[in-house]
């Protein structure tokens, strides 16, 4: 009599160790190392009064409020786009979806500055309308609301992509049944579509929240003038006056951030708990609602949004790349493409940076996808007790400001790796690992929510066909979560392409990234060169997206996020 060989539950034996190893390397190791250093430093540097400093609690409060409202803004913006573009008969969906991705590519400082310019006394737009506030009047964006708004713009694509993947998995007949029940479009949305796409929604909102908690660029520009400090800006200020207690302070502040992001996660978990999102049967087609007379209105609103979040900052960017110096009024006589010549033909760093960033971003996006599909599968199907812990650990690195994560990785890797004796410090590998760690959550979220919605019988049918785990993964699971996988790859790619704060600390000769190159140019006052490089990055991304568009027919349905 032969005994059964292994548990019949759906995952292979190596999956749990694999997931644990991934989480250990990408999250536990750097965070743990940082914590150890923090504790050691706290003991050496004496007890710090950080916790009793009201400024800290004010910062926690400000972080929470800005992140919360930022999340709301991202959800409204990204959710609105996702709903309108996937469910309604809007014209020009592809173009709108395509353009909506791009603001993620514009560095937040650029967006912030162009918005300040737009709404401030020198705004050409407001001047033309006669609405320009007098010189010196307070800038409305220097506020909690302003920060939240820009967070929203910056993170809207996160919500858009993750929700869109959820919407594509909606069963059409469920929507139809609701309409036939007499529910108006609004009721269908509220009672059926949103609850069913809740995993995607919650994932997008959670990742947006976490991203806001860790953002540095926007509060640095918009917050500090209004005396609004968030935990990341506070951390920067600790680094600015580096002292013996700095590591302790930074670890403590990072722990705060970790707690905030875990709070966000718990909320997400609560929202999703005890519900079933498995779509029974086929979900091949998406229902399309007619907007009727509202269509014009919706289309105008969508294009207007694109204008504000993309065209205006981009115009500002292009304008400053063409200006010979900052503040010189741009006209056909003053405009010069000298910056582009300089960037393209004289600066050697440009090519290195392009190669590095594109390689890093592509490797991270696709490498992470492999890890996240497995981890996501484990989290959703695994019924493991450790699932919540693993989910939380995956999330924290993304919430930490890049500088903290980079420090953590320096702490881990500055000395040669024990046993093998190779040092990856100063090579591109350390940036890659840090990227893996930081963007793990971005990549994981949409995939997890897609798995939540999957009808388990589809996998069962494949198992009975004799397909082993790897096979099922390749043939059934990945194609079925393709929209989410596509979203995760594109998101990670977009974010990694422009990444600055991590690589700023980890780069060394020959491993400059685009973010670093732009920052360095900007920091040294070569604004026009920095702008020109930014414009080139946007152009590069647009070209890559167009290539994707050309390949779209060969890719699984729903992968290319602006195609319906």
């Amino acid at each position: 009599m032969t005994r059964p060989k292994n548990q019949g539950n759906s995952q292979p034996r190596w999956l749990f160790p694999f997931v644990v190893t991934v989480i250990f390397c990408l999250s536990v190791l750097p965070l743990g190392r940082l914590a150890v250093t923090g504790i050691v430093s706290a003991m050496q540097g004496g007890a710090h009064q950080l916790l009793s400093d009201p400024a800290l609690w004010q910062a926690v409060y400000d972080t929470l409020t800005t992140s919360f409202f930022g999340m709301i803004a991202a959800v409204v913006l990204g959710g609105g786009f996702a709903l309108l573009l996937t469910l309604f008969d809007i014209r020009g969906k592809a173009a709108l979806g395509f353009l909506f991705m791009l603001p993620t590519m514009i560095p937040p400082q650029v967006t912030a500055l162009s918005w300040i310019g737009m709404t401030g006394p020198s705004s050409t737009l407001l001047k033309a309308l006669g609405l320009a506030p007098p010189l010196g009047s307070p800038q409305p964006l220097y506020s909690i609301g302003g920060i939240a708004l820009l967070y929203g713009v910056q993170n809207a694509a996160l919500v858009y992509l993750s929700l869109r993947a959820g919407l594509l998995a909606l069963p059409r007949d469920g929507v139809e049944a609701a309409r036939l029940s007499g529910a108006s479009s609004w009721q269908v949305l509220k009672d059926v579509i949103l609850p069913l796409s809740l995993p995607g929604f919650a994932a997008g909102a959670a990742i947006a929240f976490v991203s806001c908690v860790g953002n540095f660029g926007i509060p640095a520009i918009l917050g500090i003038p209004a005396s609004i400090y968030t935990l990341p800006t506070l951390i920067y200020s600790k680094f600015a006056s580096f002292g013996p207690g700095t590591f302790a302070d930074v670890s403590l502040l990072s722990a705060m951030i970790a707690i905030l992001s875990i709070v966000g996660l718990i909320v997400e978990e609560r929202v999703l708990r005890g519900r079933d999102y498995r779509v029974i049967g086929l979900s091949g087609q998406v229902a399309v609602f007619r907007l009727g007379a509202w269509r014009w209105f919706a289309e105008i609103a969508l294009w207007l949004t694109i204008l504000i979040i993309l065209v205006m900052p981009l115009t500002a960017l292009v304008a400053s790349s063409l200006a010979p110096a900052y503040g010189v009024p741009l006209s056909s006589s003053t405009a010069t493409i000298q910056a582009y010549e300089e960037i393209l033909f004289r600066q050697t760093v440009t090519r290195t940076a392009f190669t590095n960033s594109v390689t890093l971003a592509l490797t991270t996006a696709f490498g992470l996808l492999a890890a996240t599909v497995l981890t996501g599968y484990f989290l959703v199907r695994g019924r493991s007790r450790f699932a919540p812990v693993i989910a939380a650990l995956a999330e924290i690195p993304y919430a930490l400001p890049g500088i903290v994560l980079a420090v953590a990785f320096i702490l881990v890797f500055a000395a040669p790796v024990p046993v093998i004796g190779i040092s990856i410090y100063g090579t591109i590998w350390i940036i890659l690992i840090a990227y893996f760690s930081s963007f793990f959550a971005v990549s994981l979220k949409p995939v997890v929510s897609a798995f939540r919605q999957l009808d388990p019988s589809l996998e069962e049918a494949a198992r009975l066909s004799g397909a082993r785990f790897g096979r099922r993964l390749a043939d059934i699971l990945v194609p079925l979560v393709a929209p989410a996988a596509g979203a995760s790859v594109i998101l990670v790619f977009l974010i990694a392409c422009n990444e600055l704060t991590i690589s700023a600390l980890l780069w060394s000769a020959g491993t400059q990234t685009l973010g670093v190159a732009i920052y360095n140019l900007d920091d040294s006052g070569s604004f026009n060169l920095a702008s020109a490089l930014s414009v080139l990055v946007v152009i590069m991304v647009v070209v890559m997206m167009l290539v994707l568009e050309l390949m779209a027919k060969r890719l699984p349905k729903g992968v290319v996020p602006w195609r319906s």
Binding site: G174, A177, R179, L180, S181, G182, Q187, Y277
Partner: protein
Amino acid sequence: MAKLILNSLSKSFETGGRPAVNGVSLTVREGGFLALLGPSGCGKTTVLRMIAGFEQPTDGSILLGERVLADASEMVPPENRNMAMVFQSYALWPHMSVAENIGYPLKVRGISGEKRQRKVKDALSAVRLESYADRRPADLSGGQRQRVALARCLVTEPDVVLLDEPLANLDRHLRQEMEETFREFHARSGATMIYVTHDQAEAMALATDVAVMSEGRLLQVAAPEEIYARPEGRLVGGLVGQGAILSLPSPDGDRRLLDWPAVQSLLSTREIGRGNDPAADILVRPQDVEIATEGVAVSVLSVLFEGERYALRLALADGQTLRAFSRRSVRVGDTLTVIIRSAWRL
């Protein structure tokens, strides 16, 4: 409520070759109960989906009384049609409990509190799912899901009820109970009902009218007795009842209902002068084939036990097959003689 009129309704899908529905014209009278019968893929679901407003006709129009519900250019959205439907795929909302699923159409209509609870409870007990009110659809068996879909469909007072194979996954007992429920519901509410089924016994038992479709076209509409007794054409003849269709020489005149002497003479003409006369399709129903001591000789091709009786497939001398019932088992290969009590020229 008013007549439901389909006016040379057509629908082509982009991906499909031939139209899924092709020029279907049909009037369902007020409070009528129409059964839609037809082979798999003939367009039944598509017709229902157009009536419900989920698909726009590519041609033709749908009217409810005077009101144009849909034509090729415009349509009333489903939520304004006051219809209810049982989907072939059930279309339950996985995030709602059974009771919530059933109560949703009431909720949307603003019925709440005690009244809604009572109605939901009634609907639950009508489908025998009282104790499952708090389950999620994913935790139900196939038949239970179907029953939830049924309950949801019947909980309101719709003008038109569309049922797409609503009993396909239920056992005989429940089927009978549910048929009873439909009948009651129909009598009570006076709603116009359209019932898609592949089970013609069910169709006959429930409907006031039976429509038969094939390959997107409407073949015949008539009352059940009528369509059973006088089917038009091979397709309807083959679909309604389990008859076998024989190809025999045309009988004289325009007699269509043939008795044994007439059939016998046709069978024998065929044996003598074959090929001369134009062939006619003659429908022979199994209950009209009687095993007797004399008659036409047949050999037994197959014998299936059906519980109540055996279903036989018999071959005539020239290889054409007949169907028959027998209370006794016979052996495959045996030779029998049968009398054909009645037959119908299609």
